[in-house]
Symmetry: C2
Subunit: 528 residues, 2 copies
C-alpha cells in the first residue's frame, strides 16, 4: 500500500508539474488598469485580482474622490487628485439616489436618462482631464513600461492613455450607451432583430416595433454624437490629432464583454469579442455565523434576498413602508441591503444589512427569490445560482435588462413608482410558489453554467494573450480601413447605377437615332 502511495505521489506530482506549467502566468506582465467607478469596478476587480494572483504586476489608477475603488494587498494603486470633493460627490450621489424614486413623465423618461448620462459623463471627463494633464503622473506611467492597458471604454481616460502610451488595450465592459462598442468594433447590429436601448422590444418584433427600433437606431446615432462630443473633443485635444472617440476605441485588441446568451439575445459578433458574462458569479463562500443563523432559521420557507445595487441602498420612508409591510405578510425571511431610515416596527423576518453577501446568499439552497433593481451583476448572479427574480428597474440599462429576464419567464417586473404592498406580495408569491418559474430558471442556469471555460479563466487567457503577442492583430477586421459609405458598398452601388444609367441612356440614344433615321428614310421613300 505504501509503495502504491509513492507511485500515486510520483505520478500525480508529474501531473501537477505539467498542470503548473500549463497554467503558468505569462511571466509577470505589467498591466495598467483604468477602471470606471461604481458597479463597473466590482467585476473588473475580479479580473485585476486574478491577474495579480497569477503573478502579474497590476497598477490601478484611482481618483482621489471615489465610491468603491479601494486599495488591495494584491495590486498597487496610484491615486490622482480630481476637482470634485468628497462632499460634492456625496451630495451628487444623494441627489441621484433620490432622483431614481421620482417619476418622470413617460415621454420625458428617455430625455431625462440621456440628460443624466450626459451630466454624468461630463463630470467624469473632468476627472479624466485631471488625470491626463497631470504631467508628473503621466510621465511616471510612461516610465512604468506597461505591457497592456485594461480599461472600461465607458469613460475615455483608459483608451486615451493607451493610445498616448502606444500600448495594446483590452476592454472590459457590458456595453456602451448608443451601442458605441458595436460601432467601434465594426460589429453589424441589424435593427430588424437587435433591439435598441430603451426600445422595450425583444429580438422578435412586430412590424410596428421594427419601425420603432429602426427609427431609434437612427435617433441613437444623433444622440451619440451629442453624448460623446466631449470625449471626441478631449481625445482630439490631448492626442493632438483629428480623431473621434469611436476611432480611438476601435483600436482595442480584445473586447471582454460581460455577455451571455442566456441573458442577451443572439446577434452577430466579431472575432475579437470574448464573452465573460457572469464573471462576477462564484461558488458561494460560507456566510458569517450571524447571517448563517438567520438563513437557517427560515426553515422550509427559505429566504428572499433584496438589494437595489451598489449605488442605491435607501429609499423614501413611504416607499420603504410598502416593502416592510409586504415582507411582514410572507412566510420567507428577507435579507435587505438597506441604509435608510429604520422604522420602529421592522418585521421579525426582515434583516437589514449595510452590505449584503449577495452572491453567497443567492448560492444558498434556501434562496427562494431575489428582489433586484436589474443591474447586470445581480442578474448574472441570479441566473448563475438559479434564483427567480422580482425586478424593480431604476435607471440606465436596467429597464432593458429586466425585460430580457421577464421574457424568459424567470422573473416578474414591478414599477418602483407604482409598487404597492399587494403587487409586491403577489409578485413574490408568484416567483416562489409557481414552480414553472423555478423550473425555467434552473434550465437557464444549467445552460449558463455549462461553458467550456469559466469566464474568469477566459478573461485571464485573452489578457495574457495580448501581452504575449503585443496585441491581437489577427482578429482585427479590415472593416476598420473603410468609411461608412465604403463599408456598406454605397460607393460601389452608386458607381454601378451610374454605369447602368450611362448604358441605358446610350442605348436609348442609339435607338432614338436609329428610329429617326428609319423614319427619315421612310418619309423620303413616301415622298419619292
Amino acid at each position: 500500500m505504501l509503495k502504491e502511495g509513492w507511485l500515486w505521489g510520483l505520478g500525480s506530482g508529474l501531473l501537477l508539474l505539467w498542470l503548473g506549467a500549463w497554467l503558468r502566468p505569462a511571466q509577470g506582465g505589467r498591466v495598467l488598469v483604468m477602471p470606471v467607478e461604481g458597479s463597473h469596478w466590482l467585476s473588473m476587480k475580479v479580473l485585476a485580482t486574478e491577474l495579480a494572483q497569477r503573478g502579474h504586476n497590476i497598477l490601478v489608477l484611482v481618483p482621489e474622490t471615489n465610491i468603491l475603488i479601494q486599495s488591495s494587498e494584491l495590486f498597487r494603486t496610484e491615486t490622482f487628485p480630481v476637482k470634485i470633493s468628497k462632499e460634492e460627490l456625496s451630495t451628487s450621489l444623494k441627489g441621484f439616489q433620490e432622483g431614481v424614486f421620482k417619476r418622470s413623465p413617460a415621454l420625458m423618461d428617455i430625455v431625462i436618462q440621456v440628460g443624466r448620462l450626459v451630466n454624468f459623463t461630463g463630470t467624469q471627463v473632468e476627472g479624466c482631464e485631471s488625470l491626463l494633464y497631470n504631467k508628473p503622473l503621466m510621465q511616471k506611467m510612461k516610465e512604468e513600461n506597461f505591457d497592456l492597458v485594461l480599461t472600461d471604454p465607458f469613460l475615455p481616460c483608459g483608451p486615451i492613455i493607451a493610445t498616448a502610451l502606444g500600448l495594446p488595450v483590452v476592454y472590459f465592459l457590458r456595453g456602451m450607451p448608443c451601442g458605441l462598442d458595436m460601432l467601434a468594433s465594426q460589429c453589424p447590429s441589424p435593427p430588424s432583430y437587435v433591439p435598441r436601448f430603451h426600445s422595450g422590444s425583444t429580438d422578435k418584433m412586430t412590424f410596428v416595433e421594427r419601425i420603432q427600433n429602426f427609427v431609434m437606431s437612427g435617433v441613437e446615432l444623433g444622440l451619440c454624437r451629442i453624448m460623446y462630443a466631449s470625449f471626441d473633443e478631449l481625445a482630439s485635444r490631448y492626442l493632438d490629432a483629428d480623431v473621434t472617440y469611436q476611432e480611438i476605441i476601435g483600436r482595442g485588441a480584445i473586447w471582454l464583454l460581460r455577455y451571455d446568451f442566456t441573458f442577451e439575445y443572439p446577434r452577430p459578433l466579431m472575432p475579437n469579442m470574448v464573452f465573460i458574462g457572469g464573471i462576477n458569479c462564484r461558488k458561494s463562500a460560507e456566510l458569517s455565523a450571524e447571517v448563517e443563523e438567520f438563513v437557517k432559521g427560515s426553515g422550509e420557507h427559505g429566504i428572499v434576498v433584496f438589494s437595489l445595487g451598489s449605488l442605491v441602498s435607501s429609499m423614501p420612508k413611504k416607499k420603504a413602508a410598502i416593502f416592510f409591510k409586504a415582507f411582514s405578510m410572507i412566510p420567507q425571511r428577507v435579507l435587505w441591503r438597506y441604509t435608510g431610515e429604520i422604522p420602529d416596527n421592522v418585521p421579525e423576518n426582515v434583516k437589514l444589512m449595510k452590505w449584503l453577501p449577495q452572491n453567497d446568499l443567492l448560492g444558498n439552497p434556501k434562496a427562494k427569490a431575489f428582489i433586484t433593481h436589474g443591474g447586470t451583476h445581480g442578474i448574472y448572479e441570479g441566473i448563475c445560482h438559479g434564483v427567480p427574480m422580482v425586478m424593480l428597474p431604476l435607471f440606465g440599462d436596467q429597464d432593458d435588462n429586466v425585460h430580457r429576464v421577464a421574457t424568459r419567464g424567470v422573473g416578474v417586473v414591478l414599477s418602483i413608482h407604482d409598487i404597492t404592498t399587494e403587487t409586491l406580495v403577489d409578485a413574490l408569491n408568484t416567483v416562489i410558489n409557481d414552480s414553472s418559474y423555478r423550473q425555467r430558471m434552473e434550465k437557464l442556469s444549467a445552460i449558463h453554467n455549462d461553458r467550456p471555460m469559466q469566464p474568469l479563466d477566459l478573461a485571464v487567457y485573452w489578457t495574457e494573450f495580448v501581452m504575449r503577442h503585443k496585441g491581437a492583430d489577427h482578429l482585427r477586421p479590415a472593416a476598420h480601413d473603410l468609411n461608412w459609405l465604403q463599408y456598406h458598398s454605397l460607393d460601389v452601388i452608386g458607381f454601378l447605377l451610374f454605369i447602368v444609367l450611362i448604358v441605358t441612356l446610350a442605348t436609348f440614344k442609339c435607338c432614338a437615332l436609329c428610329w429617326r433615321r428609319c423614319c427619315r428614310k421612310l418619309q423620303k421613300r413616301k415622298r419619292d
Copy 2:
C-alpha cells in the same frame, strides 16, 4: 518522506477524481455520423473517434462504394448500397485527377469549377437518395434513438435525415460553396471586406476589387440557386414540405467551423459558430524506422514534404519529370506522396511513398518546406507546425486558400500548369533560405497554437452540450424568423418613405391650396 508521499497521493488522488468528474463524458450519448467523402472525412473522423473514446455510441453511415471512409474498432459503421459501382467511382476519380492537370481558359475556369461541383453534387445527391429511400435502413435509424446527428452540410443527406428524425444537429465543415453556410446561419458577410469565392481578393480591396467582389456576391446568389436546386428538390420531396436546403441547414444547433484567423480573414460571426481550425493537427507521433532513417540522413539541410492531397497522388509523366529534376538540384531530402509512374532516374534524395505521415513529418524539426496543393488540412498542419510552403492549387477552394497563405508572407504560389524546374527550385530556395519566411511562419504558428482550448476539446464540448440540452436554442438568432426584405428592414424603409411621401404631398397640397386662396383674395382685392 513516506508520509509526505501518502499526502501527495491523497491530495493528487482527489485532484484526479475532480479532474475525472470534470472531464467525464455526457453519459454515453448516441450519435449518428453522416460524413462527406474524401478529405472532409479525414478531420471529421478525428472528432468521431474522440467522441467514441469518451464513451459515446457512434454510428457512421458509409456508402458501399467509397474512397476513404473505413470501419474502426471504436465506432460502428452501417454501409448502404449506392448506384455507383467501384469501377465507376474509380474511373470518375481518375478522370478528375487527370482533369486537374489540364489547363482551362482563364475566363472559363470558374464555369468549369462550378460545372465540376454541380456534376459532383449531382452524383452525391443520387447516393443520398439511395440512403433516404432505403426504408429498412431508415426505420433502423429511427429505432436507434439517437441523441444527435453529426454531419457535414456540404451534402444534403445528413441535414435531411436529422430533420426527418427530428434530431438536433451539429455541423462540421470548413465552409460551403456560395457561402451557403453563412447565409443559412444568418451571418452577415459585407462584400466590402469579406472576399467571395474565387475572387482573388484579400480582405483589403481596392475600389475595383470591391466592385468585382460586390458583383460576384450577386452572381454567387444566382449560381447557388442552380447549384443547390437538386438539394432543394430532394429535401422538399423527401420531407414533403415546401422548404429550401438553406432553411433545412439553418436549423443546425452548432456550426463547428474549421476556421482560424491565422488563416481566414476576420469577419462577422454568429454565436452558434465554434472555431476548430487545425483540429487535424496533432503532436507528431514517431516515424517508422525506415522513414526516420531517411529523415535523419538529411543532415542540416533537412527535408521537404510533398503531397497534393488525399485525392491526387499521381501526375502526367512530363509534369512529374519537372519535379524529379528540381529535387535533384536541391540539397534537401524530399518525401513525396506519389503513386504515378516511376522513372528510372529517381534522384537519391527523393523518397516516394503511397501514403505520407504528413502531420508527423511536418512536426519533425528537420522539415524545412512543405509542397502542398493548398487544401485546408495541409495548410493547417503547415501553420500548426510552422513550416513555410510552396503551394500548387489544383481545384475548389485551393486557389483562395493559397492566396490567403501567400499574403501572410509564409508561402509562395506556383501554377501547376506553368511550373518549370527553375521556378520550383527558386520557390523552394526562397522559402527555405530567406529566413523571413520562417520567422513570419513561426509567429503565425505561435498565434495559431495559442488558444484557450484545443480545437478537438472544443468540438467535443459543444457536441456534448447539444446532447445535454437537446439543442442550443439560446444561441439561435431571431433573424431566422425574418424574410430577406424584413431582415434588411426594406419593408420598414419602404413604409417610412411612403409616409414621408404622403406628408410631403399633403403639405404641398395644403400650401398650394393656401397660395391659390391668397391669390384669389389678392385678385379680388385688385378687382375691387
